[in-house]
Symmetry: C2
Subunit: 488 residues, 2 copies
Amino acid sequence: MSKGLPDLNKDFSSWYTQVVNRAGLADYGPVKGTMVIKPYGFQLWENIRETFDSMIKKTGHVNAYFPLFIPKSFLAREAQHVEGFAKECAVVTHTRLKADPREGIIVDPDSKLEEEIVVRPTSETVIWSMYKKWIQSYRDLPILINQWANVVRWEMRTRLFLRTSEFLWQEGHTAHATAEEAEKETLDILELYRQLSEDFLAIPVYTGVKTDSEKFAGADKTYCIEAMMGDKRALQAGTSHNLGQNFAKAFEVTFQTQDNKEELVWATSWGISTRLIGAVILTHGDEKGLRLPPKIAPIQLVVIPIIKNKDQEEEVKSFLEPLIVQLQDLGIRVHQDWTNNSPGFKYNEWEMKGVPLRMEIGPRDIVKDQVVLARRDTGDKLIVPKEEVKDQIVGLLQDIQSGLFEQALEFRDQNTHSVNDYDSFKKIIKKGGFVRCGWDGEQATEAKVKEQTAATIRCIPFDENPNGLSCVFTGKPAKHEVIFAKAY
Amino acid sequence: MSKGLPDLNKDFSSWYTQVVNRAGLADYGPVKGTMVIKPYGFQLWENIRETFDSMIKKTGHVNAYFPLFIPKSFLAREAQHVEGFAKECAVVTHTRLKADPREGIIVDPDSKLEEEIVVRPTSETVIWSMYKKWIQSYRDLPILINQWANVVRWEMRTRLFLRTSEFLWQEGHTAHATAEEAEKETLDILELYRQLSEDFLAIPVYTGVKTDSEKFAGADKTYCIEAMMGDKRALQAGTSHNLGQNFAKAFEVTFQTQDNKEELVWATSWGISTRLIGAVILTHGDEKGLRLPPKIAPIQLVVIPIIKNKDQEEEVKSFLEPLIVQLQDLGIRVHQDWTNNSPGFKYNEWEMKGVPLRMEIGPRDIVKDQVVLARRDTGDKLIVPKEEVKDQIVGLLQDIQSGLFEQALEFRDQNTHSVNDYDSFKKIIKKGGFVRCGWDGEQATEAKVKEQTAATIRCIPFDENPNGLSCVFTGKPAKHEVIFAKAY
């Protein structure tokens, strides 16, 4: 803990790697590109998961579990889908190992599978193969199923939480009788993603629709939430897809309508992943490490006793005991650090881990019937009389939650620029930031801008206003107002 | 729903398959031996998971996540371990698919991995490869980590929940400074398993230790909970392993002791899986289908309105509304069935799904200010005055919980026999039941009994009393009193 972090204004990438490591969030696994989520990082994920799980259950969704393994032929049934995932599929070809006198343990060649198996990169195909069995009539619809699962997408260049060969996520897969209902579901879920991101992770997001070249392989439309990270790059934080009838067609899933017609079923799918943990780090982190929004922080308040001997320890403990009980009764997640390290060491450590509030308490405070509270977000210290501590903590946690959001929002808005000409565009993209501008709607334009600047269209925001705009690249009348940025 | 189930006294196996299917618990996936857990089955798993998760968190354990993929060489490091799992490993050998003009989508031969990857059958090896990085000193111990995950063990003959190629489980992996501490952890967890099984799943279990031939591949000792199913066969419901220093040796995990010595770390691992859902079905099910213990039932009370028209519907709804709110405030999981099916159809359906309590309510009940409550476990019907409904429901759910346990306990005890001679042994094993008897402690004896009767030693129970017993097979003085049975 003694050495400082790399300067996040100069080397954001090393800063990120060190924070993930020193805050004890994650580690690489032995197979290239795989991730070990350590307990502190996993508690973050558990809090995010429970928050979103309760949101979707309240809106009528249920959880289920579908197999990890997908027959290779299933993936191939939807042409766009297989094209999108073919290059990153882990393939199971054998089912046994055996001892070999020369080489030790080898793969048993006699166990070769007739049809190779793909480890799920996403579950549309396996799920729609089941929906074919489950859906006969309009009475079987809608199906509103979600699963929390691991998926595998083989990656060459990996980064903990942001891009790993295996990650954890939720994937919702719904089936509907009408196109309107599917579109509504897609947008309803996007709104839940926005709430999760803004109200819990304190990350402001743009909501909108992806261009055809950026949409999900197999979707008619992909909606997304896009956030700005601390280095002014964009991160796609969640996507909700209207799949139209593409998977129903591929798996021949039809239903009998109320007036006895046979129709193809309408589908949606939507996902958020452990990537969100990366987004939290990259949005809120500072030169001391993580800063966690209280609503998802594994520990909301860390208590650091300032003591010199056993007597003082006893004194502080009895002062604290009733207070801690009160705080826990309020549902506040408290941790007391009674290790032998110095207070200064502990301050650094818990700041690195992003705990929103710190309480310092020693014999001198007890005499004055007070404690010291320190905010992680601003660094402010407050001396608080004992009888006010409980209310102050509750209030401060709310302030920190909204303060982090406001700070991120201000940062994003300051670094989002509306421009009309390509020179300004290139300058902003180069120095970092989001650009709002006109686009002529041509994939070729999008491709050229990407080639020249590495910026992509993050989304066509819902609040676009293309009237009177011209395309930033071609100068033609704009079909859409879009947001361009370099992205993670 | 109209046709009855197969007779569970004549064809328990078909009865099981039909209950799993008709109660909507699970289905086979497209890859042989894989399982789809449907929403109703998954809610059962969620309830079991949340119950046990809270037990282990209360006792200081934390969750984390380790990768699905394990390098083949890791598995080979512990000789017994690889021997135990080699024959059921799914092996990933390639990482890309590609289009082929003749065959459509094929595995890209250029994507062959240098070292093959095993899909985890269990995670000791990958976890201890990480513990090597995390453990240096006694200060880093104990590590009390658990993960909820999917694992893959390739199976030829599969059965939903009981034996599938992929299943869900929790696996705890702890690291300790002393042998005593590891042994205590192993036994503490076994006690939690016993509590989960008896107090929540209402399944009585024998607790004890496995013989060497039945223990986990890589363990010094395997403790287990063993339950009797409705066909009098045994089911291993949970295992807790003292791994000694075997994995520390294999992965060279040492720590510096307080007096500056270098020592190998002591390990435990322990697991329960979706198999427990199978155990619940096989223990409590009857001729009408599932019977679920209230504590884990997704729905504890189903309300069936008995109505003939829209007016009656309104009447019943306004009668019910305040009552439902009261019940939900008590945390009771209520479902109202307002579908158009007949009451009789609904009774059958919810009985099949094992809902512990049913409330019938129609205009005639409203006139009398009463409802009818029907118990799933006994079939008893009670007429209950409205003002007593809430208390009655709370009490009945407790009665059903303990009633199911008592019934299962009586059944098990009636079918557990202490015998001294091999003829009686064979008769009981043939007709079904557990046998308690002496065993000379020889693996050869165990193997011969298994060969001749298909019965295995389920455990050496903690309450064994071998004094004066002789081995049921060899007649030699018994080293242990053991429990033999045919097992799932």
